[in-house]
C-alpha cells in the first residue's frame, strides 16, 4: 500500500478516489512495465534495488532510463528522449506513463517523509 493510501485510511471517500486514480493509471499500461517503472523510480530514491535490465528489450530500457530522470532531472529531459518513449509506447501510452512515473516519484517522497505515520496511519 502506498504511503498516500495509508495516510487516507480515515477518509474512505478520498482514499477510494485516490486508489481509483492510481489504479486507472496503472491499468493503462502493461503490468510488468508498471512494476519496472515503479522499481526504477524507487531505486533512484534508494528505496529498492534497481531492476535487472539485461533481458529487457531496447524500448523498455529506454522507458526505464526516462523514468529514472523523473525524480531529480525532470526539467532536463529532452524532446528526443520524450520522442523515443512516444515511439515505443504511442501517445496514449506516453501520457499514462508520464502520470505513472511522476506519481511513483511523489509516492516515494511521501513515504520518505513518513506521511502515513504523520497522519496517524
Amino acid at each position: 500500500m502506498s504511503a498516500v493510501c495509508a495516510a487516507l485510511a480515515a477518509d474512505p471517500v478520498l482514499a477510494s478516489h485516490y486508489a481509483d486514480f492510481r489504479g486507472k493509471t496503472e491499468a493503462a499500461l502493461d503490468p510488468a512495465l508498471v512494476a519496472l517503472v515503479r522499481q526504477a523510480v524507487a531505486a533512484v530514491h534508494g528505496m529498492e534495488p534497481a531492476p535487472e535490465e539485461s533481458d529487457l528489450d531496447e524500448g523498455t530500457r529506454t522507458v526505464l532510463a526516462y523514468a529514472r530522470r523523473m525524480p531529480f532531472e525532470h526539467t532536463a529531459i529532452t524532446d528526443a528522449e520524450a520522442a523515443a518513449v512516444v515511439a515505443d509506447l504511442g501517445e496514449a501510452g506516453f501520457v499514462a506513463f508520464s502520470v505513472l512515473a511522476a506519481l511513483a516519484d511523489a509516492e516515494c517522497r511521501a513515504e520518505q517523509v513518513g506521511l502515513a505515520e504523520l497522519a496517524g496511519g
Binding site: A7, K24, V95, A101, A102, L103
Partner: protein, 177 residues
C-alpha cells in the same frame, strides 16, 4: 525545459494542454478530475492552506502553468499576491504567512525536495498546527501537485508565456456523484 508539446491534443479543435492531452486516457482523466474535485471540495484543510502548498510546489518544480494559476476559493480566504510573494526561499521570516502556513511550507519542501527538512522541530510544528486528518489531506495534495507538475512539464505543456489567471476551484461534478 520544452515549451513544445511532446504529445498531441486528443480533443478536436483544441490545442495541447493538460486536459486535452490527458483525454488520450479518458479513464485516467475522469478519475483524476473526480479526485481533484473531491480534494478541493473538502474543507478538512482550508483551501488557502492547500493553495499555499500548491504555490510552493509550483515554484520549486518550475511549473510556469501552476505558478500563474490561482484558485478563487483561496483568494476568497485572503490569499492575495502580497502573501503569495512571500512563498519563496526565506519564507520562514515572513510576517504575512501564519505559523501554520510556515509549517505547511516546511512539510511541502520536505516532500518535494528533501525529507531531511522535516526534522524534529519541523515535524512537531506540523503536528501542533494540523490534525492527522489535515496532514493526510495535505500529503495527498502535495503528492498530486508534484506529480501533475512533473507530468505537465515532461509532456512539454509549459506555456511560453502566461498571465496570472484566476480559475474556479476544482469541484465535484454533480453528475459524477
Amino acid at each position: 525545459m520544452s515549451t513544445i508539446p511532446r504529445v498531441s491534443s486528443a480533443v478536436s479543435g483544441e490545442p495541447p494542454h493538460f486536459g486535452s492531452v490527458l483525454a488520450h486516457q479518458p479513464a485516467i482523466a475522469e478519475s483524476f478530475f473526480a479526485l481533484y474535485g473531491r480534494f478541493w471540495g473538502s474543507d478538512v484543510l482550508a483551501a488557502r492552506i492547500k493553495e499555499v502548498a500548491r504555490m510552493r510546489n509550483a515554484r520549486v518544480t518550475e511549473c510556469g502553468f501552476c505558478r500563474n494559476v490561482r484558485f478563487d476559493k483561496a483568494l476568497g480566504q485572503g490569499l492575495g499576491e502580497e502573501v503569495v510573494d512571500d512563498i519563496t526561499d526565506g519564507y520562514e521570516t515572513s510576517a504575512k504567512l501564519t505559523d501554520t502556513e510556515k509549517a505547511v511550507l516546511k512539510f511541502t519542501d520536505a516532500l518535494i525536495h528533501d525529507p531531511e527538512l522535516l526534522n524534529g522541530d519541523a515535524r512537531a510544528a506540523l503536528q501542533r498546527h494540523l490534525t492527522p486528518a489535515q496532514i493526510a489531506e495535505l500529503g495527498l495534495g502535495v503528492t498530486l501537485f508534484l506529480a501533475l507538475a512533473k507530468a505537465l512539464i515532461t509532456m512539454g505543456l509549459e506555456p511560453e508565456a502566461m498571465d496570472r489567471t484566476v480559475l474556479p476551484t476544482p469541484a465535484v461534478l454533480e453528475a459524477a456523484e
